[in-house]
Amino acid sequence: MIHPSAFTLRQTNFVWCIAAVSVASAGFALLAFVFVQTSHPTSASGGIFPTLPARLRQSKPLDFPFEIALRLDAHGRAHFAGTPYRLHQQGQADRLRQRLADFRAIAVDAGSRSSVTIIADGDAPHGDVRTLLSLCAQVGIRDIQLR
């Protein structure tokens, strides 16, 4: 006759054994999943998301141009980064041209395009707009938007 306490001990060992086997199986399944994913033929660099690196390699960097907005007021002043330049004064027009040239040089060094947006006041004379367009063209800026 088996003593009740002995039966309880054997049952407890059986439960522990089942739990250990379950944990081992789950671990093995997880290792097998990771192995299959990392050894996928389309995944040269490994990883559990094999298609993502391939797509990243095919992607091209976005080409963002160097942009700046020039505001032209009704009094013949062009504002470059907050600094006003009077277009009708030769010295200030030359300084504005130099700043535009520096801006373009930075863009060229970065291997990017340079873009200028001219935001002209409705009362600004058309001659001032043309002067500003001419300054941009002189330093080689071709991507110009006029508003």
Binding site: A124, P125, G127, R130
Partner: protein, 95 residues
């Protein structure tokens, strides 16, 4: 020299058409012999040119230097409403 007229590739070229307009001090738009007194009439003119040729249309806008930029803005908007491909403004050389 390769003549574009006889080149086999010439048929694949889409050359933009170009028209020049002048905006006078009264805001009238002149194109050749034609004067458009309203922007609506000019917009329809641009639309008809684009539709008839099927080519991209570039509109060159010239105006007196003292004309307020607001007048040019109206003409530019009319050009794009008429489905012009681009607008060009002739520039003068700054000494």
């Amino acid at each position: 020299m390769i003549s574009l007229r006889h080149s086999t590739h010439a048929s694949n070229l889409i050359l933009p058409e170009h028209i020049a307009v002048f905006v006078d001090l009264q805001g009238n738009i002149q194109s050749g012999e034609t004067t458009f007194e309203t922007l609506t009439a000019f917009t329809k003119f641009v639309e008809s040119r684009v539709a008839s040729t099927g080519h991209p249309l570039v509109v060159e806008i010239d105006a007196p230097p003292i004309l307020p930029h607001r007048q040019i803005q109206r003409v530019i908007e009319a050009c794009y409403q008429g489905r012009a491909a681009a607008v060009a403004i002739p520039i003068r050389k700054v000494e």
